[in-house]
């Protein structure tokens, strides 16, 4: 009698998904793109006059981490992989092998989601660390120390851990949302771009409560909750700053709840929908 919970089959699919991702040129293209902020930081550092205070370092570090990486590259990577989580298999018709075996459809989805999340978190984590390393690379700490009282209060390791955590949270959230979009529509990439522009970039930056429905806003909140300096870092008008980084809330439960809801809906869709295009099914 085969076990009711097919742990071996799940493990096989989990490892297989990771292996296939790593063997795909697309992954290395995405991974290379992840290092664009790092390359940009090195370029700026190279052409920038010698750094005399910590402010430009912080601006560069948090600017690249927040705006280029977390709000740009992480959603982009998640869009590429989330929308194709099941769609790629359906398109190549290999999904037929997976859903006619020991695994429930939702188990296939969740296993592939978990494996993809893990790979992207590791890739994004390395890139996050690389941003930090490229910003502080060959920084003259000795010359900065006497001029900046803030240096004593700066805990770069803590900030790096915060960014790693927020990035991981972002990967989970965006991947869940895009996985759902991938199952909702026949044109998932177009729909995902629409979602990014309307929900994340427009609504997410509106000075209204509606922005709380955007993941980017919640990720910003979660970063600010652990790095209070962020609120005033960019010397924005105080009202705007308060809107962008509200003091209340951590953003974490909001992102996790949104991810859980998106995944639940994706599981429902993958269970009730045919995953083979009808033109493929007819002979």
């Amino acid at each position: 009698m085969k076990p009711a919970f097919p742990i071996g089959a799940i493990a096989a699919l989990f490892l297989f998904t990771i292996r296939q991702m790593l063997r795909d040129a697309k992954f290395w293209a995405v991974a290379a793109a992840m290092f664009l902020p790092c390359a940009l930081a090195l370029l700026i550092r190279h052409f920038h006059p010698p750094i005399k205070s910590l402010d430009p370092v912080w601006h560069l570090y948090h600017g690249l981490s927040q705006f280029m990486f977390l709000m740009g590259l992480v959603p982009l990577a998640c869009m590429i992989y989330g929308t194709g989580l099941i769609g790629t298999e359906a398109e190549s018709k290999t999904i037929g092998y997976l859903i006619t075996r020991r695994l429930r459809r939702r188990t296939v989805l969740l296993t592939k989601f978990a494996a993809t999340t893990l790979v992207l978190i590791v890739a994004c984590g390395v890139a996050t660390a690389a941003i930090y390393a490229s910003v502080v690379y060959r920084l003259d700490w000795q010359s900065l120390a006497p001029k900046s009282a803030a240096l004593a209060q700066w805990n770069p390791a803590h900030e790096l851990i915060v960014y790693l955590s927020v990035t991981a949270l972002g990967v989970i959230g965006f991947l869940a949302i895009f996985s759902l979009i991938g199952l909702l529509t026949a044109k998932p990439l177009a729909m995902s771009v629409f979602y990014m522009v309307v929900v994340e970039l427009v609504i997410g930056n509106l000075p209204a409560r509606a922005r709380e429905y955007s993941l980017i806003h919640q990720l910003r909140v979660s970063a600010a909750a652990s790095i209070p300096r962020l609120v005033n870092l960019f010397q924005l008008p105080s009202e705007l700053s308060a809107q962008l980084f509200p003091a209340n809330g951590s953003g974490v439960p909001e992102v996790l709840i949104a991810s859980a809801v998106a995944l639940f809906l994706a599981c429902v869709l993958v269970t009730v929908r045919e995953l083979t295009p009808s033109k493929v099914a007819r002979d």
């Binding site: 071996g8 092998y97 006619t100 007819r282």
Partner: protein, 309 residues
Amino acid sequence: MAVIELIQLSKWYGEVIGLNNVTAEIGPGITGLLGPNGAGKSTLMGLATGQLGPSKGAIRVFGGSPWDNPRLLSRIGYCPEGDPFWSNLTGHQFVLFLAKVSGLHGGAARRAATQAIERTGMSPHAGRAIRGYSKGMRQRIKIAQTLVHSPELLILDEPFTGTDPIARHELTHLFRELAAQGTNILVSSHVLHEVEALTRQILMIDHGRIVAQGDVQDVRRTMLDRPHVIRVRVDQPRKLASRLAGWEMVTGVSVPEPDTVLFETRSPEAAYERLTTLILEDGLTVREVAAADESLEAVFGYLTQRSAK
């Protein structure tokens, strides 16, 4: 007990009908699923493997619904049509992965994969990437993954496509061997004589409807409105042809080869009886008397033509 039951089963894609109110039972053993392109064969196989859901009616495999039913699906081996592959895998990796996804562990999965590959004659090529396989090799490695978890029912969509005559012969032998061991097989094919070599149990569909089901000879006998063609290999074909032409029950006579007479009749039983008498009376030397059109091609052609009318 039926292995697959179709209960008023319909499947449509928008306005296109895949299957149209089909009720049938597919029994144990090997059943050939026949029909022209677009007849609904792959739709039926998609429904039987739980990849497609019925628009109306129901399908039961081993008494249960196959949709998202892993316990039932683990009793089925499915060989899809076409080339759905993770082509960067080697043949062995492909079969081993699907063995594991079928619930086999470690050593058991490896043994099962090796055995399935051996049975399909792919052992010498198992270490090569699938992307470098010929069409025939791809077919065989797909069949290997179908067998890897020792399913009770094989659903094979066009398994002979692209295979060379030797591979076809070997696969036919393998399927017969599996059937003899108790495995049920539903096999679709356009290569009708290969299905005929495999089984006489057929299910013919066209435009989403079943046009015939059962033993190919029984099916043929039900077609009373079409003349039966009888072939006689005889030493004096012209003499026989002229005698047959005078019979009221004969609707056509020809001599296609120097030693062969073909004649059509709507009363085959009576024709056989009278032919025996004629042969004896005229002292003809007969080497063969046989129905010329009980092959699947003939039955298939006739039934789909009738269905179209």
